[in-house]
């Protein structure tokens, strides 16, 4: 009897000890030690080919310039940062932020700003005179009531139309469509040849298509107005734009699993057009495994999406300064590298994007990137919807929902009502 007693007590105590031990261990493992060798924890979702190389190049510059600091790579895999951001949310709620984290510049950061998770970095902008090297419109579009909360490292373009020249030739499309009307005419011609006129991926790629069609149909000024107090989501111009979207979408093939298979249909000559951000360039151009190894201008070609010539719809990855960062000085040192010409010119050619700075070394950027860099310096700017520039997360989810439902029922009036509702709920 006595022995059973002891056994029971021993097991109970052991159980409780394990529970508490787990708690302690978990906590300690998550925060890199402060002090000692000064670690700077940089949180990102750059783990893929290209982007991870770019991050490494920036890390080397950082450690060379700051001998007392070591770079701690806290990258979480997963494109577009879905999983990384879920983890980040738990870290911020537990008040154990990384020293700096990646986020899409613009409205996507609003949630963090409202929650008081971020410190403005205006002083850094003044110190490094960043307002002179970034385009004025960019600084405007990422400012929240005069405060800037992030340092853009790279720029991607969203409004790019990729096409297969051979398929266009076969269909008798001699000129690259410049307006939505020309685009629809070209799609019709391709349809007659039996090829897919426009390839499309999962639901988010339809929202990506929507932002390009809105920009092309409404024009840059009206598009940029949508995100201000004077927005008009219910008017006739919007109705027309959404009808354009419906027309364009009616030429889309069966949805592929994601943007890559959709882009591959164009590269393989099964489809004529796809509208996707310029990260598709790396996929088309890079040698196999990482890409398709296609030759630019012959196997595939590009132009601004119809009706958006002269406008650069941008999105950007940026780094932030969280409140309560364990190593604030280290984080600032990292932001300085991320903002510098040297840092951006090391990162971007590898990642396949262009620097946010206007004074980049143009010789580093060839082929598509040279085009993009030229346009970035001269075009008007508009912010992307799907990639977090103009709308915050909640608004973006509402837009995605509306487009997902529209794909099933093709009801323009319902889509417009849902979009207007989403804008209203988001305080417009």
């Amino acid at each position: 009897m006595r022995r059973r007693w002891m056994a029971a007590v021993a097991v109970t105590v052991a159980g409780l000890l394990t529970l508490t031990a787990c708690g302690d261990g978990g906590g300690a493992a998550q925060t890199p030690q402060a002090g000692g060798e000064k670690k700077v924890e940089v949180f990102s979702w750059w783990t893929g080919p290209g982007e991870a190389d770019g991050l490494k190049a920036m890390k080397e510059i950082f450690e060379k310039q700051n001998p007392g600091l070591t770079f701690f790579d806290a990258a979480v895999a997963g494109g577009s940062g879905d999983k990384a951001r879920a983890l980040l949310a738990t870290k911020l709620q537990a008040d154990t932020p990384p020293d700096t984290f990646q986020g899409h510049a613009g409205a996507e950061l609003q949630g963090y700003i409202k929650a008081g998770d971020l410190e403005p970095v205006n002083s850094l902008y003044d110190e490094l005179k960043l307002k002179e090297v970034f385009p004025e419109q960019l600084v405007d579009q990422i400012s929240v009531q005069g405060q800037i909360y992030s340092v853009p490292v790279n720029i991607h373009r969203s409004n790019v139309m990729w096409f297969n020249p051979a398929v266009l030739k076969e269909a008798g499309v001699t000129e690259v469509p410049k307006t939505i009307e020309e685009f629809v005419a070209a799609l019709e011609k391709v349809k007659k040849t039996g090829k897919i006129p426009l390839s499309i991926g999962s639901e988010w790629t339809m929202v990506h298509l929507l932002e390009s069609v809105l920009l092309g149909s409404l024009g840059t000024e009206a598009y940029n107005q949508l995100w201000t107090a004077g927005s008009d989501w219910s008017g006739p111009a919007m109705t027309k734009a959404l009808n354009d979207f419906k027309t364009v979408l009616s030429y889309a093939g069966d949805p592929a699993d994601d943007w890559q298979p959709a882009a591959k249909q164009v590269a393989d000559g099964e489809a004529a057009f796809t509208i996707m951000g310029d990260w598709a360039y790396g996929y088309f151009h890079n040698p196999p495994d990482g890409g398709l190894g296609k030759k630019s201008k012959t196997d595939f070609d590009w132009a601004p999406s119809p009706g958006t010539g002269g406008t650069f719809m941008w999105l950007s990855d940026s780094f932030t300064l969280p409140k309560g960062a364990p190593n604030r000085a280290g984080a600032l040192a990292w932001l300085k590298v991320a903002a510098s010409k040297e840092g951006q010119d090391a990162f971007n050619p590898k990642k396949g994007s262009i620097p946010a700075r206007k004074d980049a070394d143009t010789s580093l950027y060839t082929d598509y990137l040279a085009d993009a860099l030229k346009d970035w310096g001269s075009d008007k700017l508009a912010g992307s919807i799907q990639h977090g520039v103009t709308v915050n997360d909640a608004w973006r989810v509402s837009i995605n929902e509306a487009v997902g439902l529209f794909h099933a029922d093709k009801d323009v009036a319902a889509l417009q009502a849902a979009l207007a509702e989403a804008a209203k709920n988001s305080g417009q």
Binding site: A8, K114, D257, A394
Partner: protein, 295 residues
């Protein structure tokens, strides 16, 4: 003192798990229901009590209606399909084929795979491309000359969720087979003999003797499959991601919490999932309790 000695050691032994379950299961459930009854629609506000408002307004959202429909179609096809297929496999095995052990292992293996791995494979198998663009199953049908069998699979707006249930049936029917096989074996041979002596055909033996005796097994299988089906998340996300066309409540919940940053809405959806599952589980628990109490 002796009485205490009798029950205390046992209690101490289970105490850690009682505490853990009280905190991490029932505590969290309670916390979730409380959150669902507040208006904490972003991560920073504290949220005040609004009663059942969230539970009512959720039904105004088109997406919620769609995801509930999807969950129902998925559950009916998955549970029905897995039960039927599992029963059939068990029925065939029960006839005493050679190499039964091997077959049993083969049919049970899919259960060892996670839904995520199953989903990744079936996403490819159920690719919606057809004819010259066909891959996976459509390609198979195409090359066998069964072109008419090609369809969009889970991208079909009406019956997509039925296609989504196929991988789940594939994965779980072996498990149902094992349950039924045990059930079949549990039917005493002399009962069957007696029926045969009384002049029953083999079919009548199954219809009137074996099937009624299998009822408890069927019920367990129904409940196990039913609760898996109502909370399905991993399979859907692995096959199609977070798209409306295959939306189910658990995916909607993830989107509400992590994408829209609306904790109250996410908690409301979670509460509905718990309630739906308990509709399955509670009658079962009552039933087993009652049965166990019987001498």
């Amino acid at each position: 003192m002796t009485r205490v000695r009798r029950w205390l050691p046992g209690l101490l032994l289970v105490m850690p798990s009682i505490i853990a379950i009280a905190v991490f299961v029932y505590g969290m459930l309670g916390w979730n229901f409380r959150l669902a009854m507040t208006d904490r629609h972003d991560e920073i506000s504290e949220g005040s009590f609004v009663g059942l408002e969230n539970f009512v307004t959720l039904w105004d959202q088109k997406r919620w209606g769609i995801s509930v429909d999807h969950a129902i179609v998925f559950t009916v096809v998955f549970v029905g399909g897995a039960l039927a297929l599992g029963w059939l496999l068990a029925f065939l095995m029960e006839k005493g084929i050679r190499g039964e052990g091997t077959f049993r292992a083969v049919y049970l293996f899919p259960m060892a795979i996670s839904f995520v791995a199953t989903g990744v494979v079936w996403r490819w198998l159920m690719n919606s491309g057809q004819d010259e663009r066909a891959v996976g199953l459509n390609r198979l049908f195409d090359s066998l000359g069964l072109d008419f069998l090609q369809w969009e699979w889970f991208r079909n707006p009406d019956w997509g969720m039925a296609a989504m249930a196929i991988p789940a049936i594939w994965q779980m029917s072996g498990y149902v087979m094992a349950l039924f096989l045990a059930g079949f074996r549990g039917v005493p041979e002399d009962l069957r003999e007696a029926a045969r002596v009384d002049g029953c055909t083999e079919w009548q033996v199954y219809r009137h003797i074996v099937l009624p005796l299998l009822r408890p097994v069927t019920l367990s299988a129904l409940i196990i499959l039913g609760h898996i089906s109502l909370k399905v998340f991993d399979l859907i996300v692995a096959v199609s991601g977070k798209q409306i066309i295959t939306d189910v409540p658990a995916v909607f919940m993830w989107v509400a919490v992590f994408d829209s940053h609306d904790p109250a809405k996410g908690a409301t959806i979670a509460s509905y999932i718990v309630l739906a599952v308990s509709v399955f589980v509670i009658p079962y628990l009552v039933w087993t309790l009652r049965k166990e109490r019987r001498p």
